[in-house]
């Protein structure tokens, strides 16, 4: 056990020192009938070399990725991993002791600033678990703020996010009203008496919603307008703060985090000034130390569970600090020009891909609405055939949508990031052409 330093001699010395006969003696307060009398049934211990071999065997080289639906294959500059791999960052706990945690605290403050800048809102917290739970917590904030018990959510919001929303709202007896889509975007609908109107921009289909009109609907109903957004898109798309959103949230995986089979990602949550004290989770704020120098601390903790206990708005404590650090490094590396370039490349390649797919017999773009980096394809073939055709060319696209939207059987998503080359997109076209014969 190379991770346990005690030798048998150390143990004996320590036991003698505290007057205990054996380590087992220290467990005497566990009633005997509750003590495990056998060894746990686990596989035998592996050496480091065997472990690496075993894990390498489990790893599986992925195909070229046109998959979307909330997780994207963006390029990550080497500098991101180099810096988040500094163990002073990754082996620290939550920065409760600011005198020896200025690294994490300063980075959180920088992260909060970047999220506020991207979303065009006043303040952001230190991060949430993921885009889905961030949206759910945003809805809970709105319910608490307005005292209303209905929440309207667009059906074009990620289906898994809506499922999380339902899970979070059910015990509060909040009714969830789904706003239907038409042609890929949310149709105008009645939202009277709701605490909040929740939309996604670009939405789950990749389409761009008419957010100005939806914001107006929310405002007229006295509801908060909550937008879940793709942070990469915010380099080129109007920020939520500019079209009347009260809360912006989303998934930050696109900002320097590997896809990692869906997690850990990064939830972000930003608000207007009037909602700052309703934000859940950690926040870093600037102050001075007793030597008169600017420094950062976790602040406004009176909102949180360790102080408020059952009166806290949320139970969140650990969040995704290291992922927020990765995003902060990533955004610092790209800067405004780099992020805009990434966004433009995504949009250009997605447009090229859409046109390419549209020309293949049996496949066409499902919706006419404008899109950013992904779009829905309607296929005349069964999904199994399409998937097989793509696999033959070592490509993957999707997800297929009937699992989420029964009315969209035969539809699937295609996401195109800056990493996809024209040659790869042409290969996608070729693969689809061959589907008929798969």
């Amino acid at each position: 056990m190379q991770y346990i330093p005690n030798t048998e001699a150390d143990r004996q010395k320590m036991l003698a020192d505290i007057g205990a006969a054996s380590v087992e003696d220290l467990f005497a307060d566990i009633p005997a009938f509750l003590r495990l009398t056998r060894e746990l049934d686990l596989p035998p211990a592996l050496s480091e070399m065997e472990l690496v071999g075993h894990m390498t065997a489990l790893a599986q080289a992925p195909p070229t990725c046109f998959l979307g639906g909330g997780c994207y294959d963006h390029f990550i500059p080497a500098v991101v991993d180099a810096l988040v791999s500094r163990s002073e960052f990754y082996t620290a706990y939550t920065p409760y002791q600011p005198e020896i945690s200025q690294g994490t605290l300063t980075a959180i403050y920088e992260f909060q600033t970047m999220i506020a800048e991207l979303t065009g809102l006043d303040a952001a917290n230190a991060s949430m678990y993921d885009g889905a739970s961030a949206l759910a917590e945003a809805a809970v904030m709105a319910v608490r703020k307005t005292g209303r018990t209905r929440v309207a959510v667009a059906e074009s919001v990620h289906p898994e996010y809506r499922r999380v929303l339902a899970t979070y709202l059910a015990p509060r007896r909040v009714e969830l009203v789904q706003l239907p889509y038409e042609g890929g975007i949310t149709a105008a609908a009645a939202v009277d008496g709701t605490a909040a109107v929740l939309v996604q921009q670009p939405n789950f289909f990749g389409c761009l919603e008419d957010v100005g009109q939806l914001a107006g609907l929310a405002r007229a109903a006295g509801a908060l307008f909550i937008v879940s957004c793709d942070p990469v898109s915010l380099a080129v798309l109007k920020p939520p703060g500019a079209y009347g959103a009260d809360i912006a949230c989303g998934e930050g995986q696109s900002l320097g985090l590997p896809m990692s089979f869906g997690g850990p990602g990064l939830g972000f949550l930003a608000v207007r000034e009037s909602l700052v004290r309703h934000l859940p989770g950690r926040m870093a704020g600037a102050t001075v130390d007793n030597r008169g120098r600017r420094a950062f601390v976790l602040t406004m903790q009176a909102r949180e569970q360790h102080i408020r206990r059952e009166k806290a708005g949320s139970n969140i404590c650990s969040n995704h600090a290291l992922c927020a650090l990765a995003a902060t490094v990533h955004l610092s590396a790209l800067g405004p020009a780099g992020l805009a370039r990434v966004a433009s490349l995504c949009a250009a390649k997605a447009a090229y891909a859409s046109a390419a797919v549209n020309g293949v017999p049996g496949f066409r773009a499902a919706f006419a609405a404008p899109f950013f980096k992904e779009f829905v394809v309607k296929s005349d073939y069964p999904w199994e055939k399409v998937r097989c055709g793509l696999s033959r060319h070592n490509l993957a696209a999707g997800p297929e949508l009937s699992r989420f939207y029964p009315e969209l059987a035969g539809h699937f998503l295609v996401a195109v990031t800056e990493k996809r080359t024209r040659a790869e997109i042409d290969r996608l076209k070729t693969a689809l052409r061959e589907v008929a014969s798969c």
């Binding site: 346990i4 600033t113 991207l118």
Partner: protein, 481 residues
């Protein structure tokens, strides 16, 4: 905005037009986004060179204290050493590069890791099935209490209350409230366990369940656990095990055998995955076979040939996040269990408990020890003596420990101990380190008596001094402008 500090922010560095990226030119025509939806002014993001960027974050990292820096006896947080090889295997491109919506046959290795980790955790918990979805301990608590709610609802009544001891983590009551329950706080008895009489009185058919950490936040195993589980089950309630302190009993005793119905583990505590300065962690939840139908979707099932995602749980509570959980963290916990084996995990618990008792017995001479009995993986001291006799508070002594090169213990928690100091050494510290820490604590206790002003003003040798936290809360400055 305050004037620039000794360390500039990334926004205060660089120059317009400076860059730390290179991107390929376009190989397709540019696209035009609708005019009404386009951003008019770019976000104010940093414009720095790669060298500046690296120096900035390296400077910041040097202002941090991590487990790799030194001893981190932060009670209830299990700051054990995080082995390097786990970082390497979690970054294998065939794991970190997988998209969650890949066809199942192209992600068999990843699904196998989730499935096998579920089996290991079920065995360690002594329960039937485990969801990997929760992203943190508190997130796991939410799942657990929602499962309890779903169980009662299926019997026609969700019930109204959750019982929680006064020694519990703040997340327990916050979670119960999030899940729509009223919180009833139970007092502790003179030995630090639950006051069984109070429990008996509080327990009726309006109570959905009891949330308990065992060993609790005093580091004490509740000797009446079978009486407690009997009382709760007797009135149809369920028992929730907060696994924050599972490092103490791994391989020695299993929550399922104690009578718990729901257990969450903190993989970033017990299973050696790093805490990341505040996450990402992972908080898998294990349950009895009876509660398994309510678990979040999907679960990963194995049919003898291949692994697949099972969404077919009609009575599921739903989801608490997208996809399948913090897979990158799960990989590290899986690797930890594979590298420790059964004997290794038990050894870890045994040494964690031995180390804690060793430090406790050496420190009880210098501080008050409110519960004088063998502890498990951690123990709680009180700085009452120093406060009353010398006017030195626990906070002062905690800060002073930094000058000796140690991270302070958890302070002012649990709430039921005055001037509390909660110390958890973990099994990954050597006797020499423990001896040095004992020496430092003794020195601080002596200073509190002989030179209290030195302790009041601490820390003296850290890069920053004590913070004006009131100013931060009253004049919120949450972003650079």
């Amino acid at each position: 905005m305050l004037s620039q500090g000794p360390v500039p922010l990334i926004f205060e560095m660089g120059a317009p037009g400076r860059r730390a990226f290179s991107l390929p030119g376009g190989d397709v025509p540019e696209a035009v986004l609708p005019a009404g939806l386009r951003r008019e002014t770019p976000p104010r993001l940093p414009e720095v060179s790669e060298g500046e960027l690296v120096r900035h974050f390296t400077t910041l990292s040097n202002l941090n204290f991590g487990v790799d820096t030194g001893f981190y006896p932060l009670g209830s947080c299990t700051m054990k050493y995080n082995p390097k090889v786990f970082e390497v295997v979690a970054r294998l491109p065939g794991l970190s590069g997988l998209h969650p919506y890949l066809p199942e046959e192209l992600a068999q290795g990843a699904l196998r890791i989730i499935h096998e980790l579920e089996r290991y955790l079920a065995e360690i918990a002594g329960l039937a099935r485990v969801t990997m979805q929760p992203a943190a301990g508190a997130h796991g608590e939410l799942v657990g209490v929602l499962l309890i709610r779903a169980y009662h609802e299926s019997r026609g009544n969700p019930r109204q209350k959750i019982l929680i001891p006064d020694s519990a983590h703040g997340t327990n009551p916050a979670t119960a409230a999030m899940a729509g329950y009223e919180v009833v706080t139970l007092p502790s008895d003179a030995r630090g366990g639950i006051d069984v009489g109070a429990l008996e009185k509080a327990m009726d058919d309006t109570v959905a369940g009891l949330m308990l950490t065992n060993p609790n936040t005093l580091g004490l195993f509740d000797e009446n656990i079978d009486v407690i589980t009997g009382l709760v089950h007797g009135k149809g309630g369920l028992l929730y095990y907060d696994g924050a302190n599972a490092n103490a009993v791994m391989g020695y005793s299993r929550p399922g055998d104690m009578g718990f119905d729901v257990v969450h583990f903190n993989l970033h505590k017990t299973f050696a995955t790093p805490h990341g300065g505040g996450g990402p962690g992972a908080g898998p939840v294990a349950v009895t076979a009876e509660l398994a139908p309510y678990l979040p979707v999907p679960l990963v099932d194995f049919d003898g040939e291949s692994y697949r995602l099972n969404y077919d749980l009609p009575r599921s509570i739903g989801r608490v996040r997208s996809f399948y959980g913090n897979f990158g963290v799960l990989v590290k916990a899986y690797a930890y269990i594979r590298s420790m084996g059964a004997a290794g995990l038990k050894q870890a618990a045994g040494d964690a408990v031995l180390n804690a008792n060793y430090v406790m017995r050496h420190l009880q001479e210098y501080f008050d020890l409110p519960f004088d009995r063998a502890c498990k993986h951690e123990f709680v001291l009180s700085g009452k003596r120093q406060k009353e006799k010398n006017g030195v508070r626990t906070l002062d002594m905690a800060k002073r420990l930094m000058d000796y090169g140690f991270h302070p213990p958890t302070v002012y928690f649990p709430l039921i101990v005055e001037e509390a100091m909660m110390i958890e050494p973990t099994e990954t510290e050597s006797k020499e380190t423990l001896d040095r820490f004992i020496g430092a604590c003794a020195a601080v206790a002596n200073e509190a008596r002989d030179e209290p002003e030195k302790v009041h003003g601490a820390p003296h040798t850290t890069p920053f001094g004590r913070m004006d936290e009131t100013r931060a809360a009253r004049q919120p400055d949450l972003r650079w402008r």
